[in-house]
């Protein structure tokens, strides 16, 4: 018995060492170079609470680090419990604002949000994460796809790499005759939902499946989480997946260039090209409610606009019952929009907001009461 316990203890130590090792390689919150931000009015409630989308968690940890430096003694506790849970907790009054992959749904949710706030709630798209079509194709770099072809790859109609549809977009490249292995997210995720919305919007009906939090393409093998699909793609030759760009880069995967709905040249995935698409996005909400018309993002037709990005919102009250909370929420969002916080985003796999769009966000944030 004693020996068993000792054995268990040794095992635990070994295991925790492994776990710690694993954690060590993960990115740490608020890495160097985060500077205090100007133009922020600190004050109000010292400890804000928020929860929701895990897609924006890495951005939030950086924002929080900047917030703590800018406003001494102030902090925010963000729990990445999932968008649905985040919206529910906000509507239930347990949190001060929600992080969510999608805006409040019209109808019941919007009504409940108005009751919770005693004022309209605003959807503020603060964090944009570009989604890459990442591939593992020995011997091929700079793969080019467009909306309709991507849609037919992800619904199985284009089943081999040397299919004429792909070959037409990639003249002069040695495409293997191998079958395409599609790796998809098996868990419900905002990335899957947004990527499928892109496939629906940009393919002129070629996708032919519904967009949802689960993958509906009907082909391929599922893996869990962004890390799961990135690993699966790295380990499986001739496979392709969709994943947040940071995972594709870290996994050393190829990232397809996209010909957007305007035709023209293939657009690589960079902060600048995603910014071009964000600047051209249409806002569906009224006034300071910046709910986006995502189709206008996915169908971006400006030259040099990369059309696949996941927009995550902060859902806030336009007029908080408690002034202290309003001041703190405003200060936090002002911090998040400050240059220092925005500069830290690319290393976490997000894109900084382009100047034009940031102006609109700043106006909205400053109007929170």
């Amino acid at each position: 018995m004693r020996y068993q316990r000792r054995a268990a203890a040794v095992g635990l130590i070994a295991a925790s060492a492994l776990l710690l090792g694993a954690c060590g390689s993960d990115e740490n919150a608020g890495g160097g170079g985060v500077s205090a931000a100007p133009g922020v009015t600190c004050g109000g409630k010292p400890d804000l609470r928020s929860s929701g989308s895990s897609a924006q968690n890495n951005a939030m940890t950086r924002f929080v680090a900047t917030y703590q430096q800018t406003c001494q003694g102030q902090t925010l506790n963000y729990t990445p419990s999932g968008s649905g849970a985040g919206r529910n907790e906000f509507l239930g009054g347990q949190t001060d604002f929600a992080g969510s992959d999608s805006a409040l749904k019209d109808g019941d949710e919007t009504t409940r949000a108005e009751q919770r706030c005693a004022s309209p709630a605003w959807n503020l798209p603060l964090v944009f994460g570009p989604v890459a079509i990442a591939y593992n194709l020995p011997g091929v770099t700079d793969l080019v796809l467009d909306g309709p072809t991507a849609a037919r790859v992800f619904n199985g109609q284009v089943a081999t790499w040397n299919d004429p549809a792909i070959a037409a977009l990639n003249p002069g490249k040695q495409l293997p005759a191998a079958p395409i292995v599609v790796n998809f997210r098996s868990d419900e995720s905002g990335t899957t939902e947004n990527f499928q919305k892109y496939l629906v919007a940009a393919s002129n009906g070629a996708y032919g499946k519904e967009a949802g939090q689960t993958f509906n393409g009907g082909v391929g093998a599922g893996a869990r989480g962004s890390q799961g699909v990135a690993d699966a793609t790295r380990n499986t030759p001739n496979s392709v997946t969709y994943v947040e760009s940071s995972f594709a880069q870290r996994g050393g995967l190829g990232v397809a260039q996209i010909i957007n709905s305007g035709g023209g040249q293939p657009v690589p995935l960079t902060a600048e090209t995603v910014g071009n698409a964000i600047n051209n996005v249409q806002v569906e909400g009224e006034g300071n409610d910046l709910k986006l018309n995502l189709d206008s993002l996915y169908q971006a037709n400006a030259p040099g606009a990369y059309p696949i990005a996941l927009a995550t919102y902060e859902i806030v009250c336009s007029n908080y019952a408690d002034d202290q909370t309003a001041t703190a929420v405003r200060a936090f969002l002002q911090t998040a929009l400050s240059p220092g916080a925005q500069q830290a985003l690319p290393e976490a796999g997000y894109v900084p907001l382009p100047e034009q769009f940031k102006q609109r966000m700043t106006t909205a944030v400053n109007a929170i009461q």
């Binding site: 040794v10 295991a15 999932g82 939090q213 082909v219 093998a221 893996a223 869990r224 699966a232 380990n235």
Partner: protein, 350 residues
């Protein structure tokens, strides 16, 4: 000679007498003794102590039963509304679609297939190995070697299942690829090795089953080892006196004595395999088409499906669908335990 000893050694004879005799003597010594003494001394505190202690013990016993019943009831109550709203056949549909609360379509066919296939495959792999290890440790290995070796086996049980999952998908799956390819190429006519519903041969039930086998190995080994070690000395010596070789001793004395414990240990292992969550979730890839009853299928087990969706439980009806799946797993585990008890002849040592 050997014939007679095999007849004598099997369970019924000495083993049944032994515990019975033992408990009888215990009863006569302990039970009436203190009770009578307490009463004759007429001390009320002794009587109260007796009642308090009896209350505590029977309370603890009841608590377990009540807790199990409460869990069952909770699962049932939560599941019924979703089952009523289900548009698909709960037992035969391979779909598990709860995206639209107003149009639930969920069934457990594939969950049962993946859960049972992966667990049974793990059991088939782990049982002979565990038997071999247990026999080696108790009857072949010198004491010096046996002890540290046993700790190493126990250490396997201390490794967190997420580690097994990561090891399974990152290390084991690529290593098993040639084996899987060979099996499918040469034995593909047999339904278990037929092409599955995944486009790849890594991250299948096959891979998951091997991972599960490693995970349940220490449980089966530990229980079996303990039982084998308790084989009555005189059984072994009697066999040796009759000129039995070591293998014959094991076959005539150790195996019959330890059979029920071995089966009980295996069932404990099977229970763990059925309920294993995170390792399976990481290792077995999700598929888009129904299962082909092949070991090269992908999909979800009950536990991994629930875990994969747990973060999105926000509406009662879809949540209830997963709880209904949990209820089936709950019942399945009971059935497995019941079968184990029947096989072990009601004498479960584990």
């Amino acid at each position: 000679m050997t014939e007679r000893t095999t007849e004598q050694a099997p369970p019924q004879g000495p083993r049944d007498e032994d515990p019975a005799a033992g408990s009888a003597t215990l009863d006569t010594v302990t039970d009436p003794g203190p009770a009578r003494g307490g009463r004759s001394r007429g001390s009320s505190s002794g009587g109260r102590g007796e009642r308090v202690f009896r209350g505590l013990t029977s309370g603890s016993g009841l608590l377990v039963v009540v807790a199990i019943a409460a869990i069952g009831l909770f699962l049932l109550v939560q599941a019924v509304p979703s089952l009523m709203a289900n548009n698909a056949n709960f037992f035969t549909s391979p779909l598990f679609d709860t995206r639209d609360p107003a149009n639930l379509n969920f069934g457990i066919r594939d969950l049962v297939v993946v859960t049972v296939l992966s667990s049974l495959f793990a059991l088939v792999l782990a049982m002979p190995v565990a038997l071999g290890i247990a026999l080696f440790l108790t009857h072949y290995a010198p004491r010096r070697v046996a002890r540290p070796f046993a700790y190493v086996i126990d250490l396997l049980a201390a490794v967190p299942s997420i580690i097994y999952g990561l090891w399974g998908i990152a290390v084991l799956a690529p290593a098993l690829l040639p084996v899987a390819t060979w099996l499918q190429g040469n034995l593909g006519w047999f339904f278990l090795f037929a092409p599955g519903n995944l486009p790849v041969l890594t991250g299948t039930i096959f891979t998951g089953g091997v991972v599960l086998a490693v995970m349940i190995l220490p449980i089966i080994t530990a229980v079996t080892r303990e039982v084998f070690a308790q084989t009555p000395r005189f059984h072994i010596e009697a066999a040796q006196a009759l000129g039995a070789t070591r293998w014959e001793v094991i076959r005539m004395a150790v195996l019959p004595y330890g059979r029920s414990g071995y089966i009980a240990g295996s069932m404990l292992g099977l229970g763990r395999a059925l309920g294993e969550t995170i390792a399976v979730l990481i290792v077995i890839r999700a598929a888009t088409t129904p299962s082909n009853f092949s070991l090269f299928d992908g999909g979800y087990t009950f536990a991994s499906l629930i875990a994969s969706a747990a973060s999105e439980f926000s509406q009662p009806l879809p949540t209830g669908a997963y709880i209904a799946a949990g209820l089936v797993l709950f019942v399945l585990t009971f059935v497995v335990n019941a079968i184990a008890r029947v096989i072990a002849g009601g004498k479960v040592n584990g």
